[in-house]
Structures are given as C-alpha cells and as structure tokens.
Subunit: 370 residues, 4 copies
C-alpha cells in the first residue's frame, strides 16, 4: 500500500473544486480516498454550519464521482471537518488516499512510510459516554487499526484522529430508564468528557498510561494523564467513535513520513521544531525552500491554558464573552506553527482534554521523505 496525501485550498465551505481537479487530473482516484480532514471557516463552536456544509458538498461530490448514494459515500470516507480558521489560518482540505500501487519502502530509504487505517467502534449507550467503556473501546480500536495499518510499535504511532459522540437532551432522557445516569447533564460539557475519554483510550493503546491509572473519576479530572498523539473532536452525528490512526509502517511504500511532538503551551515553538525534525526535517533557524516543499501538512491541537496563564503571564481568553477561548487559541497556535513552517495553511483544532498537557497539545507533521 501507498499513502497519498493532498492539501487543497478551499475558497468557501462548499468549494470542492480543488478535490475535483485532483480527480480529473488523474492524480487522485476517487475510489481510493479514505479520509478527509477539513479546516472550515465557521466559528468552530455550536452554531458552526460551515462543517456540515462542507460535509454535505463533499459527500455529494463523491456520491456522484463513485455513483453511489450520499449515505454510502459518508460510510466509505471518514469526513472530519474542524471549524474555525482564526487569525492567519487558511481554509483547506487534507485528502488521504490509500493506493494499492506502492510496495514496501526500500530498506535504504529508511524502511518505513506513512500508513493509516480507519474504523469505528460499536455504538455507545449515552451513559457510557465520557466513561471507561468509551475509553476501552477506543483503545481496542486503536490497537486493531495499528495492526491493519502495519504500525507495529507504539513509537511508530504519531497521530490518532477520533470523532466521538456527545450527549443531547434526548439521549440523556433515555439513560435513567436503564438504571444509570449519564456522566454529565450539560450537553456542551459532554463534548469535553467524550473527547477526554477518547483521548485516554488512545493513551492506553499507545502505552502512554497504564490501565490501572484509568477510571471514570480520572476522566477530565486527573490532567497528569494524557496522550501525545490523540486528536479528538465531538460531533452530534454519530454514537460510536470513528478512529483513524496515522503512523509509519515497514509494510507501506510511497514517499511520505509522519512525525510528532507535544506542545507544552500555545507558544511552544521548540515543539514545532521537534515535530518537523521527527518527520525528517532538521534545520537551524528556518526551513530551506526545499524543505518547505517537503511539508505536506502540520496537524495540531490547542486550548487556552485553563489556569489563565501562559509563561506566567495572564491571558484574557477565558474571560472573553465576545470571542470563545478556542477561537483565540487556534489563532495563536496557527500563528506559531505558520511562522516556523512559513505557511498558514496548516490544521489547528481546538479542545485538547487529555491531549498533551493543560494549555498544550500534540503536533504532527506529514512530510515527503528526502
């Protein structure tokens, strides 16, 4: 297998022309697309319809291209739309295709290449969301997908994208009839618990935490537990966890590599450098023009530091009733990453419970091998 990854600019949430041109030019086969991650230009919060709009138009496009129904297209391709392109962030899609063409990478070229696999857990009961059953099912799925993708060692696992469910009033009402209450009744907060449980599931599979450390109580409470490779986001449209693992595998060919690091706070420029170097791009002050060409995309998670401080200085993100803190945080982390790689069209997503340390988050780099 060979991974093909394309970063495509978007002029508006319904602009799939860039994707269409890849297909029409023959560079991308519609039938090989497995996953699309998008940064769409809504507010990234509750009433962000840019995500759904991109989803609708993308699935409509692939339904026509593959002569299947929209629903079948959605089942076939994992569509992960992350809203919010604050500051310099440039709206775009990242298209992941798995092509049978490539054989294993030649030994002399490092021997491992970008590999990925997608799958979804069983559907959860509302009372399981934000609790151990969700974490455990996620861990199990990550392990299975690592096997499928041929990512043998946790040290070769660099990014795990999880789309997880949230609670709604209707879902909450069903739970007590089965004898157990839900984890949290506030629907907005249920997103955090679902993201947190999912991230700890990834941490478990990645060997970053031990099973004995986890419990219902630890989720969204014991912040010392975290994954350096999890990227989780909650959505209303599903009741299972949809998981995509990314890593390097000796079984895959092609010319791409992935690496990662963990930002310890929103200004952690050193982690950006470390992530680039982890993907084979070593440099002093800045990337060379040739190195810049080799960067396919950077994927990062972020949040406003919950203690209200960055490097000991007070920030105002959490007290701002006009602009949501996640919007501020995305602008900051995008700017830090973009200033190092010299390109603002990188993927930064908000809400990082148990994903890196409080106020920080994982950062992965996909790059062409030299």
């Amino acid at each position: 297998m060979e991974a093909k990854v394309f970063r495509v600019p978007m002029r508006s949430p319904d602009d799939v022309q860039g994707v269409a041109e890849l297909v029409e030019s023959g560079r991308l086969r519609a039938g090989e697309v497995r996953c699309i991650m998008g940064k769409t230009e809504g507010n990234g919060c509750v009433n962000d319809f840019s995500r759904g709009f991109s989803n609708f138009v993308l699935s409509d496009y692939f339904a026509r291209a593959l002569n299947i129904s929209r629903r079948e297209a959605e089942a076939r391709i994992s569509l992960i739309m992350s809203g919010g392109t604050e500051g310099a962030m440039s709206p775009h899609f990242t298209v992941f295709a798995a092509s049978p063409g490539g054989g294993p990478a030649a030994e002399e070229s490092g021997g491992k290449r970008l590999a990925f696999a997608s799958g979804h857990t069983r559907e959860f009961l509302p009372e399981e969301i934000g609790r151990m059953p969700q974490a455990e099912a996620t861990a199990e799925m990550v392990r299975r997908l690592m096997g499928e993708a041929g990512i043998g060692d946790p040290s070769d696992l660099h990014f795990v994208q999880v789309k997880c469910p949230l609670l709604t009033a209707e879902r909450i009402r069903g739970a007590p009839q089965r004898g157990k209450g839900v984890r949290v009744e506030d629907t907005y907060k249920s997103m955090a618990y679902s993201r947190g449980a999912s991230a700890l599931g990834v941490a478990l599979a990645a060997g970053e935490v031990r099973a004995a450390q986890l419990s219902d109580e630890a989720i969204c409470r014991d912040w010392s537990l975290a994954s350096g490779v999890a990227s989780t986001s909650a959505g209303i449209e599903l009741m299972c966890n949809e998981v995509t693992v990314f890593g390097n595998s000796p079984a895959w060919g092609g010319g791409l590599l992935i690496g990662h690091s963990v930002m310890r706070d929103a200004l952690d420029r050193d982690a950006v450098k470390a992530a680039l170097e982890s993907a084979g791009l070593a440099f002093g002050w800045g990337l060379s023009p040739e190195q810049r060409e080799r960067v396919v995309n950077v994927l990062a998670k972020c949040e406003a530091s919950p203690d209200g401080l960055i490097r000991g200085r007070r920030h105002t993100m959490l007290d701002d009733s006009d602009i949501n803190s996640t919007r501020h945080a995305r602008a900051v982390v995008n700017a830090v990453v973009a200033s190092v790689v010299g390109d603002p069209m990188v993927y930064v997503s908000g809400g990082a419970e148990h994903q890196g340390p409080p106020g920080g988050g994982p950062i992965a780099v996909i790059a062409r091998a030299s």
Copy 2:
C-alpha cells in the same frame, strides 16, 4: 538624562497597583514619568471603554501622587492606551520615565543609550486631517523632538508613537463653512486617513520618503510609501498630534537600548529576530535565559493583509463579520513575537496604514545593554 522603562502587568483596566508599587518602592519617581503605553483588554475598536477606563484611573492616580488636578496630570504625561489583547497577549502598562540622574554612557559601552521626548503639534482644522498639513506638522515635530532627545541621526530613530485626531459628525459640519470639505465623511475611515498622514509625516522626518513624493492624493493610496518606525493611532479626545520619539542618543546614560526592524507580513519571524539583534540581542534559534531577562518590551504594529493573502494563502480576517480583522491580526503578531521572545506580555497594536508594507508593520525592541 537617563531613560527608565518599566513593564507592569495589569489585572484589569483599572488596576494601577503595579505602577503604585513602583512609586512606593522608590524605583520610580511619579514626577519623572513622561509617557505610559498600555495594552488594555477591550475590543480595540469603536466601543472599547477599557482604554478610557485605564486613562481615567491612571490620571486619577498621578493627580493624587503629584497633588495636581487630573487635567494637569493628563497634560504632563502622554497616556497611550491601545485596546485589544487577543490570543495570548497579556494586558500591561509600559511606563517611561526620564531621570536627570544618568550621565552620558561611557564610550566603551557603545556610547548611545535609549532617549525619548514627547510633544504635540498645533491643533488641526478638520479639513487638514488626513492631508498634507497634518503630515508636515508631524514631520516638523519629529525633527524637533529628535533634537530635544539628542537623537542626531535618523538611523538612531527607532520608534515614533503618534496619537492623532479623527473626524466626528460635528467636526465635519464645521469644515464647509471655511470653504473646504474634509478628506472623508465616514468617521471610522477618518481614523485611517489620520493615521496614514501621520505615518507619512514620520517617514518624511526619518528620511524614508522625500517631500516631493508626498501629496494629499498619496495618503492612504500609494502604499509604496511607508515608515519603518512609525506607530500611529487615532483617538477622539484630541485635535493635535501627540508625538513621542524613541531612539538611541550619545547624550543619554543609563542601561537601555532600542532597536527595530520591519515585519513584511504578520508571520515574519525573521523580522522579530532582526529587531532583537538590532537591540543587541544576537542568537541562533532562541534567546538564552539571560537574554530574555534583558528584553524590556517589544512594540509592534500589525494589520490584516489587505489583499486577503498571507504567503499566497487566503486568510478569512477581512470577511469575518463576527470578529474585526484587527483583532485577528493582533492575535497573530503577538503569537509570533511571543513565541520568539518567550513572553506574551508584549505590545502589539492594530491599524498600520503607511507603517511598514501592506500586511506588515514596524517592530521595535527595548532592551538592557549587556
């Protein structure tokens, strides 16, 4: 003379305790304070009352400390409040005092030290705002203040802060009676024209443009004309230009230096490095802990690039009807600067007409000499 500069955190717009503690501890004499630049945590736009609140409380404090009226305190100390602490930016005051204590810097220590001087032009007629008379009076004032501060050479001039007037409906009504219309009838846009004319006045005095290049028509139209040291902001409370020049002078002593560079876009990390090096702080990837200690503050101007692109990528700042583009831009530039100096408590102000290239802006660094 000796310049003393203190950067003081602010817990809210009315928190002057940090300033009071400097005075009470004897490190700062209230009577020597000449200028205070503040980053306050409002929206930085029209209905930002955090600026006025800080102004009121600061002048109230100094009136009591110096046993004068609030009005006298405002006349004595140039108070420049810039609203908007988006992203990681941390609210703070920068207090500039001129102390008679210091003699000229010893020849062996480089021979020049941070110097500054403040003054204000005559009051303008409404029809002069955004036109050549405002530019010319500003240029004249900059030259006079350079003389006062002992900044002999334009290459020693590193930052010129100008507070300039704007047009109101009332001011506009008076103009036609004198036979000449105002430059622009839109009061919000008059802020841009006033900032632009003032910046070109600074450029003229600094030798960055020639008099023959300037005209009423060139203001806010010919963007090839710009100053790399001007930082101008419009306010409703005055009809003159209030100017403070900052540079290095052989006539001043003390331990501070200023340097500067120009960001060519909002992500220009190289310019941050160049500005730090211009102030005596040379480094490879990052500042050493000792060097960080020597940074007193960084002062930068920014704006969303008017062509909608950064590094060839589309940004969404100009189409965002929920968040003003200046708010996005401040978050970006603060993050870029903060990630390099390791501190988000730096001064970044929006609205950069004729201040650096379109989408970019001047950046100055005040640092302790080694």
Copy 3:
C-alpha cells in the same frame, strides 16, 4: 390560479424535512413551487454560510423531487435566503406555490386574492449597479410581473422582493476598460447601492416616486425617496435582478390576502397593527385566537436608524464593534412584530436603503381571508 403559501419551521439550515412532508402529504405539489423565502440562522453578514447551505439543500431536494438537475431547480424556483435570526426570531421557510386549481374569488368574498409572479431582468454591467439602469430595469420588470400576476393597480401591490447583485474586486476591474468607473469601489458598500437602486426602481413602478426625481446622484443620498413595498437584498451569485411581486388580484382565487404598511422606526407598533388590518385583521389590543390562526406570515425590512437615535434616544447599534447593527435591528423589529402577532416565527430582514424612511421599513402581512 390560486396561491398557496406554507410557513415551515427549520431545525437547522439543512433541514428540509418540513418541505418534504408537505410534498409527501399531498398538500404541496413540488412542481408548483415558485419561490421560497427563508430565514436562516447565520449572522446575516458577509461570512454567513447558512444561506448557501439552505440553498444547496433545497435545490438538491427539488432536483430529486422533480427529477431535474440542481441548476434547473435553481432556475425554476426563486430561492431567497435571508440570514440572521437574532433575538426571538425562529428559523423557517415560506414556500410560495401557484396552483392552477383556483378560479377567481367569488365577488361576495371581496373579489381579490393573493397573486404573485417572479422574473429576472437582463444581466447588468458592473458600472450599471447602483445606478439608474438598474433602477429602470427593475421598474420595468415590476410592471411586467404585475401584468402577469393580474395586479392591475399599484394600490394592490403590497410587497416586492428583489435579489440583486453586488460588486466584487474582479467585477470592478472590468469596468474601466469599458470607459466608465463603477459607482463605488468598496464591495461591502456596493451591496447598499445595489439595494438602493433596486428599491427606487420598485418605487418608480409603484408610483411612489416620479421618474424626474430619480438620478444616479439621488441613489443612497436623497432619503426622502423611498418605496413602502420594496424588500431588496444583495447576493454574490447573480448579475441580474431577480424580482417577485406580491399583491391582490381579481384574477386569482384561493383563500389568501396580502396587505402592508410602513414602519416609521424600529419600534413602530402602530404600523404592525395597520399592516394586519390592511390584510383584513382588525383588532383592539390583540388578535383573537381565531385571527392568529389566519396569519400566514409577516414580512418586514429593518435597519438601525442612521442618525443614532430612536424616538429621540441614543442607541448604540452603530458603535458596536462586536455585533453588527443589522443584527441588533432584526432582533428589535422581530420582537415588536412577534409581540403583536403572538408568534416569533416571522420574516424580518435587514438593510433597508430607500425601503421606508431611514430607520424604518415596509411590513407586509399574508393572511387567510375570513
């Protein structure tokens, strides 16, 4: 002919289930739908993607229902999506169908019934937008559509919805090559000029202004000229004016009537009463339950009064840099209308140049005849 009008709640911008149920239940024939006016829950400003999302999903639905292409569906049905459901306003679609079933209304029942017709002008050159050619072509189209709908007398014309073009950077660039500049270079302001010229075209056809009063200069300047029946909104997706006239006609049957009045300011409760009475609903303090049932929908235009005053009191809508003034205005007018009719699911749209007096706007009521 008989007009059928259905008001359908929307749970999100892509929720067309209410429309589908009307069709499936046999109450509405998909092929008879001529126009859909929607209130979608975006910000109603530049980056409002809820409008486009509803448009896409509606045209997708009708394409499938009628077995035509999405493009053909859009050509067949005038889709007018107005963003912004501030305050209590409830998102909904109003579906207008023309059914051949109904004969002329019986003489004894008043003799006239709701009639409507849609059409579009030729495409405009960029330099014609916001100028007399646009106004004149609109007037001509209104007259033609009045004829088509059998609305013989201007006093029977109660509401004219116009979707008109705006200028973009690209469109502006083309104009000088043809020897004439565009009306305004600011793309956002071009929306106001286009709305204004279109509204004056309606006023001309409705006999509210005389041709001699109109000129390029009068558009968006002489606010004494206005239409009490025009409702115009600018969109990027067309270069012609798409016009729908609504009135009462002796040639149409069915059970619906339309009436209107003009709000003189955003709080003009008396005009709401007058509009209801104009549609046959006379009352004292409030509508009776039976009368409430007869209200099909209320359609109103609004804006923040440009002089900053309502009833002599200062409002803060125009100085608010966090919330656009049109958003405030919609919340106010919807609340005033909703409090009188007892229902917040009414249509209120912002931006009312030459539509009613400054700060006010037309208000129409569609009701079932008694």
Copy 4:
C-alpha cells in the same frame, strides 16, 4: 419622606454630566441620593468594563460633590450598574433620592406613594452562597427594609433589587478548610446560584413561597418557585447581599407610584400593559402623550427561555456561540417594552433565575400619579 426619581441619558459610561446638571440646577441634592441604577453599554457579561467605569466615575463625582472619599461615596450610595444595551436600549442612569421634604400623601390622592430603602446583609462565607443561609438572610433584610420604608403589606412591595456575590477560585479554595464544599465550583455558574438563592429569599419575604418549600436542593432546580418582584444580579466586588426594596407606602409623600406585573415570556406584551395599569396608567391600544410623560422608568428582568422555545417556536439564542443569550434576550424584552411605552430608554437586565417563570421575568413601572 418623599422619593425623587430621575432618569438621565448617558453618552458613554463615564458621562455623569446629566447627574451633575441635576445637582447644579438644584433639582437634586447630592446628599439625598441613595441609589443609582445604570444601564451601561458593555456586553453585560464577564469582561464588561463599562459597569466598573460608570461606578468609578459616579463615586468620584459624588466624593467631590459631598467632600468625602470615593470609598465613603460607595458606602453611602447603592450603585447598581447593569451592562448590556442591545437593540434599541438606550444607556441611562436612574437616580433615586429620598428627600425629607414630603409629608404623607393626601388621603384623596390614593394615600400611598413610592417608598424605598436600602441595606446590606452580613458577609457570607463562600459555602453559604447559593444556599439557604443566603436566601434566609435576604428574606430577613427585605422584611427589615419594608419596615424602614413603611411598606406594610407584601401587596405594596413591587420591586426588590439585590446585588449579590459570586464565587472566585480564591474564595472556593478557602471553603473546604472549614469542612464544607461550595455549592458549585464553576465561577460563572456561581453567579446563577447566588442570583437564584437571593431571588428565593425575596420570594420568602414577599410571601410568594413558604419556608417549607425552600431547601438547598430547590435552589436553581425547582423552577416552580419564583418571585414576581425580585431582580437580582451578581458582582465580584462584594460578599454580602446589597438590597433595595421599592413599594408604595402611606408614610411617604411626593408624586410617584410604583406597580408591577410578571412577563410569562419575552414577548409578553400583556404583562407590560398590566404593569403600566398597576402604576395607574390605564389605556386601550397605546398610552396618551400625557400618560407617556408620567412614565418615569420601567424596570424588567429577562432571560432566554431555557427549553429553547418561545410560544412553541424554536429560538436560537442558546446555541449562538457568537452572541451570549442574555444579549439577545435584553434586545427582545427592551423592544417589547419600548414599543408599548414609546421609549427605548428603559431598564432591562438579564439573568432571571427564580425571577418570574422560566423565560419570563418581573416588570415594574415607576410613574407620576395623575
């Protein structure tokens, strides 16, 4: 005693000129001012500095006028600043003075006149906030102030304004050391609990609920318990409840009356009418010009209905991540009230836990007796 009440427009949060002119003209004695309620033009949420700015400038003014310290002025005059003037709401102060001049009202004029009294409870421990001790102390204070003001009967009590404390991280940390946790750890939510407990305290004193119905558990849970006269708002600057009761008393003279009603939802126009009639202003469709002159101010509380519906229609206030729901709700209720009284300069404040039914709130009218 005689109550004097003045409604004064404000041009900005620091504009106290209207108050100063009342004093200078001799219509108001600075020493007789007991309470000022302000509507200031901030966002009414966490980072609203317009409230503090008005507070600072008002206390500064009265300190100078009465030749006392700012702190003494604040202790002497209850300053209640409510942020948020969305929609048509016009910023203003309402100044309440108690003048010894007036004797009891003549029997023939109705026998009762506007009376009020202010006081504050003991300081609460953090763990008491949002629980019964806060409710009980509030009830006790209301009863005592009713006695002081000569409001003998609960039916003569029409409005009780309470300023109550909130929890901060620091306050929360202290509680466990005393063996009992705080009611809620989320500082923003503590505002709701504090408002709710205070409102139930008012309800208890007003005889609207019985002591047996109240418990820690009922606060912010059993919404069937509510006061029709309570108006409570939380602020960071105090740890006690500051209470002002307003009613009609046979012991007071002067020419003012107060009445009230309860809005059952945000569009409840009938309740506005009932409140006006309760204050002696009976009318059919609208107030006469003479009646409008008699309205001194209207005071109302509001909130977005928590079930997401108004009159059975979905509203979008609770899902709007760009504009806080309280901002939407204020725009709506102000518009409804203003459209009936013909004046947008009325007081509408958000956050109505246990103040009227869910989605509704109390509304009081102060008017000149005929």
